[in-house]
Symmetry: C5
Subunit: 354 residues, 5 copies
Amino acid sequence: MARFLKKNKASLHRTPGSVIFVGSQKMDQARVSVMDYDQGDLRELEPKKIDEGERFRKTDTVTWINVDGVHDTELIMEIGRSFDLHPLIMEDIVHTGQRPKVEEHDDCIFLVLKMLRFDEDQEQVIGEQLSMVLGRTFLLTFQEQSSDAFDSVLARIGRQKGRGKGAGIDYLAYALLDTVVDNYIFIIENLGEKVEDLEEEVLSSPSQEVLEKITRYKREMNYIRKAVRPFRELVQQLNFLDSELISDKTDPFLKDMQGLALQSVEIIDTYREMLFDYLNIYNTGVNNRLNEIMKVLTIFSAIFIPLTFIAGVYGTNFTYLPELRYKYSYFVFWVVLVLVALVMVRFFRRRGWL
Amino acid sequence: MARFLKKNKASLHRTPGSVIFVGSQKMDQARVSVMDYDQGDLRELEPKKIDEGERFRKTDTVTWINVDGVHDTELIMEIGRSFDLHPLIMEDIVHTGQRPKVEEHDDCIFLVLKMLRFDEDQEQVIGEQLSMVLGRTFLLTFQEQSSDAFDSVLARIGRQKGRGKGAGIDYLAYALLDTVVDNYIFIIENLGEKVEDLEEEVLSSPSQEVLEKITRYKREMNYIRKAVRPFRELVQQLNFLDSELISDKTDPFLKDMQGLALQSVEIIDTYREMLFDYLNIYNTGVNNRLNEIMKVLTIFSAIFIPLTFIAGVYGTNFTYLPELRYKYSYFVFWVVLVLVALVMVRFFRRRGWL
Amino acid sequence: MARFLKKNKASLHRTPGSVIFVGSQKMDQARVSVMDYDQGDLRELEPKKIDEGERFRKTDTVTWINVDGVHDTELIMEIGRSFDLHPLIMEDIVHTGQRPKVEEHDDCIFLVLKMLRFDEDQEQVIGEQLSMVLGRTFLLTFQEQSSDAFDSVLARIGRQKGRGKGAGIDYLAYALLDTVVDNYIFIIENLGEKVEDLEEEVLSSPSQEVLEKITRYKREMNYIRKAVRPFRELVQQLNFLDSELISDKTDPFLKDMQGLALQSVEIIDTYREMLFDYLNIYNTGVNNRLNEIMKVLTIFSAIFIPLTFIAGVYGTNFTYLPELRYKYSYFVFWVVLVLVALVMVRFFRRRGWL
Amino acid sequence: MARFLKKNKASLHRTPGSVIFVGSQKMDQARVSVMDYDQGDLRELEPKKIDEGERFRKTDTVTWINVDGVHDTELIMEIGRSFDLHPLIMEDIVHTGQRPKVEEHDDCIFLVLKMLRFDEDQEQVIGEQLSMVLGRTFLLTFQEQSSDAFDSVLARIGRQKGRGKGAGIDYLAYALLDTVVDNYIFIIENLGEKVEDLEEEVLSSPSQEVLEKITRYKREMNYIRKAVRPFRELVQQLNFLDSELISDKTDPFLKDMQGLALQSVEIIDTYREMLFDYLNIYNTGVNNRLNEIMKVLTIFSAIFIPLTFIAGVYGTNFTYLPELRYKYSYFVFWVVLVLVALVMVRFFRRRGWL
Amino acid sequence: MARFLKKNKASLHRTPGSVIFVGSQKMDQARVSVMDYDQGDLRELEPKKIDEGERFRKTDTVTWINVDGVHDTELIMEIGRSFDLHPLIMEDIVHTGQRPKVEEHDDCIFLVLKMLRFDEDQEQVIGEQLSMVLGRTFLLTFQEQSSDAFDSVLARIGRQKGRGKGAGIDYLAYALLDTVVDNYIFIIENLGEKVEDLEEEVLSSPSQEVLEKITRYKREMNYIRKAVRPFRELVQQLNFLDSELISDKTDPFLKDMQGLALQSVEIIDTYREMLFDYLNIYNTGVNNRLNEIMKVLTIFSAIFIPLTFIAGVYGTNFTYLPELRYKYSYFVFWVVLVLVALVMVRFFRRRGWL
């Protein structure tokens, strides 16, 4: 399965702007939750009908509608219609292979990004698409799957008095993005720790397993980078955006986030370089082992080959072979053997091979 | 045959702007088809005379003329004259080795790009030149060969009521480009899947066949990149173009396409990097095998070489060789052989070679 | 432990702007020192209460408050409140894994950077975060640990009459930055000397130890680069900053520093390239050794293998083996052996292997 | 001889602007030819005296003076004086190691570029400097050697009625540049075809000859790139130039040429990458061969070493060696030998080495 | 000794702008020479007192003061004071490890660059700092050591009438820079020739000596690049500088120099790439040799190993060994040996190893 690019055969001859789900369905049933709050009040409700959305759209309170599961294209289209979204936005929401990007529309900002989580079983980073539509009085978020990633933000809204609650849609969106970038850093750090720990192993015992680890970490780093690099551009563009939907008070937060995103990308690249170096060192280590083994073979062979030859000479059956007859021949024979062996050993010592 | 650059010896001493076909003829007979439609009506006709083109040129309806096969320079020149195209446009249409580009002329926009398809027999990506001339009331497209690539667009025009039909020349051109970029992604994904699947093979059994696959995929990725990278620039320029031929309504579609093109290029680069890594891993695997084989050889040699030597010593014919005479000599001899062998084995065990 | 990225699990679900210490505590007790001076007078005092800070804030004298140890979040928050700092500044001060950056706030400039020192025991570069808040009448500096890095600046303030003392907050900040960049260069130079010295060793004796050195130096260079590259950007931004907090008189000093920072980055890259080359040369050296050893083995084997074979032939017990009976057979046998050996030697000489 | 940089020791302590020939003289005698034409008339004349040049300079007709051979500094200076050229232009014309560039002077545009040709004997690309001075009513071209490169342009001027003749100096200059870029493409394509054909050979039989080819092609590609890359910049600058010497009508032609130049550079880089890959694959192939050979050796050695040992045991002369006496001992001996051999073979089979 | 970065421990805790000599003293005694000339007159004088400088500073004549040896900080400070230079300029002059740069001050332009010379004994490029202060009526130059580099310029001033003498300070400065860049090219070319010549050697005999040459040339190329790359930026900045100290007449000369500097950098990079390729080819060559040697060993071993085994079989002392008794056994034995050998040889022939 091409993991770096989503299959979109289904959408090959589609009309641009048509809402066809591309991806693998990860939930049985899409789940919609609605939060509505202003200065004093927070209501959470699982709405029966989405067209209530229209109601929220018109109030001045902060309304956050979160949809878990984007395979239900009917639902998505209903939401899209009630918030009057551009068809291309709706297409991008259900086509879960988008490159992270930010688009400024007439009355909303549309963000697509990847949320990452590390699947411990498969030892693989899984990316899921998060789409955000940031309007004047509402924030729509679409996730591929239910996750507890945003629970902390939710909790804070319920709990907090100061900045969290009074702040508007843009701060809410920032808080969610902040959760995402924190998660990036958490995952990079987790994988990075494994990468840094690998160095010891690469230097001491370059086994096949180490090679597989290098390859796997490299692939995962590539996968993470594929999500984080465009995210950095996204945050940068968000900073440059001169939209009235983003208040000046949120600016320093976004600038802070830009630094984090930049740092993430740089550190991914550092780890990728380290892994590249590891492969080199691994190869070197393999060569060194071969070298060591060859040395032993050489020394064994080189020492015994002439000895065996000498023994062979006195194993010949020549009728006239004078040395065989003397009493001390056998003794001398051994002396010669030992001398030859010693000369060999010295020769290798001098060459620094022993 | 230089696949990355088309032979153009024929055009070596040409006058700039002369219409000489460069490429390999892929059809017997060029085929022209004309579509003409406005809000309510769609007519498709195979025109006898191209100079009818002039007629279409003046009407306000959307006229799309598609030419399959560009080797018929007479035909091309006739079309060119009736639509009053610049000689350089006509030269580029028949010279099928152009770098994808967009040119803004006084009254039209000229696009050259590559359509890709994967030839399963040769396991090779084939690129064919697609030229588009986008005028106020007409769209001319020139393909090297008949293909069904645009059938879906055609079908939609016939079928659809809303966006597809009412929209103008620019949307039609976008729809065709969209087909092209969809095709790029389809091909990248197809090849990418093969590349990702190769990893397993590279790690487990680095054979000559794997090496050839790496080389082939690399070459094909290069070939695709040669088409897609300039396409990305093309779309970017199209976005920056401040032409009245492209309406504001088409802008978001083009911006969307730019994201797709950028993603394609990034993913090609990711795959290229992966293939580069594969070659490294392949080499490492080959080394590892050698290592393993050497190890076995070393152990065998190192164990038997001294044993053979000892046997050789007692195969000598010295008249006075005391050990030969004792009754248990042969038994002791075997004990010594086994002991030496065991010492060798322990030595290798301790070194971790066994 | 992931050295290239600080663990910040603790802050994973934090509210943006919350002051949570991230890092490893390096001192038992945070230490605050306050310097206050104008043209004529220098007072140094260890303040009991930080809210005296507010007092200094209002005077026109140059006030420099240095805090060693940032784990005491209470203290940091107290200082932050009394100087009215933005919550994000305070968060960054205690979160010691920031990417070096400069932020312009309404009434102050905030700088984060890394101070480096070489730990001789671990043979490792240690980075510690230095945060600076540059206000109109005060300079706040926050270090992770007590260090004598700024003593020279302090000494100069006490001693000097001219430029050092009369100059304002911005010059003081520059002087501290200058100490930091001097330290970068000192560390790069120290490590660089080791890198340059390694060349000899790489060429003459490519041992496992050399490989480990290459790997270690590479890692340390990466670590230094991680601090110095963003520092270069920081200085560049500081130069572009059009703030009234930085007087024109300080401009040439900052420009000078920019050159130093750029040079540092370039030289780090040169050393990194050299280390990359070393790894190649190391590999080559290992191969050369193997080559040399193989040569000796080949020559030994190739010479003795046919000799041993000949001896074996005359060790056979065929009843009818005519050569064995002649008187000079044994002599001829030796002549043949020597001749064969000589032919072998000549053969290898001619091939240039001896 | 340093081929990538021309020796200019002679000019080491020259005054800037002094006209000293640097290069190797390629013709005995410099040759000057003058073409003069307007709408209706073409005269070609070999002028006795160059100062007639001044005459042409004042007329309104298109005058093209071509000089083959630039070693005759007297001649060059005479021409320079009669057309009032800047001393630096004249220095650059005779100093044949210039980097391709375009310079706008007060009343002329000065171009230096490299013409390439492939020397089949030396299998080497030869670069020769072409200097062009584009004035209001004249075009001066200086080549190192007589060539037929411009004959086709000449022929066209003589033959053609339309665009070729009526057009001005700028179109003539373009036509010559076009010839040059056509030649670049022709040479790249020629070499590129060889590079593409090499792949087969690299994969199937990695011999020393292949290695030499890779090295040679790489060097030649570098050499071509050295000429083409600055040429691309040159054309780009020519496009940006807002000179009245270049009419608007020539603009689309120059833009077209820019595309060609860009394509050339990209394809050179593709070929360079391919050659880099070839070297990797070559190395891999060499390793694979070694691997194969090692395998055979291992199998042979490993099978015969124990057999020889067993034979050695029964070749010992122990007085008491029971096995020797039994009648079927020799038969059993062979059975054992065969069994041992079979076990060995099975062992290698199971490991996949046979 | 860290050659790529000058030791500046001495200046570690210096006040910015303090004049402390950093580098190795290369002359016993600093030497000052003063040239003063206008249209008609040239005087050269070794001034007793530097404060005469002030006198020259006020006249309208071109005054060039050259100082050889910068270790005498007293002298430098005296000059600095009499020409009223900024302390940072003076610090940079004596701190001989500056990155080449240009700084525009209120009434002068300050240039720092590296002069290179090739030390034939050490086979090493030596860089010395050249500082230039370009004022309205004076030019100050500071070299680390006496050299004859500027003699040609001096000679020209004395000799020439036209451009050299009448021209102002800026042309004089240009003429000196021109000498420097000529020297760069001379050194690059010298080293480049050696690099190009090395190719033959790398391909034919990859010895340890070749490896050391590659390493050395690479290091020297890096060292040269370290001087030339910032020089290119310096010239570029000089071109952009809108200073009244540089007259329009000098502009084309500077533009010309920019081309030379760019070419130098490009060619250095080409040579660096070539050396990188050499290392690859070297490795390949080493592998090829190993391959060749292995082949010989394999063939020898593989042929003799079975022969020796057969001889061993008939060397056993089995009482009942039927083959030994027949009269022609020994003859048959030889026939078998030869047949086995022939089969082996054919086997290797068929595999293409012989």
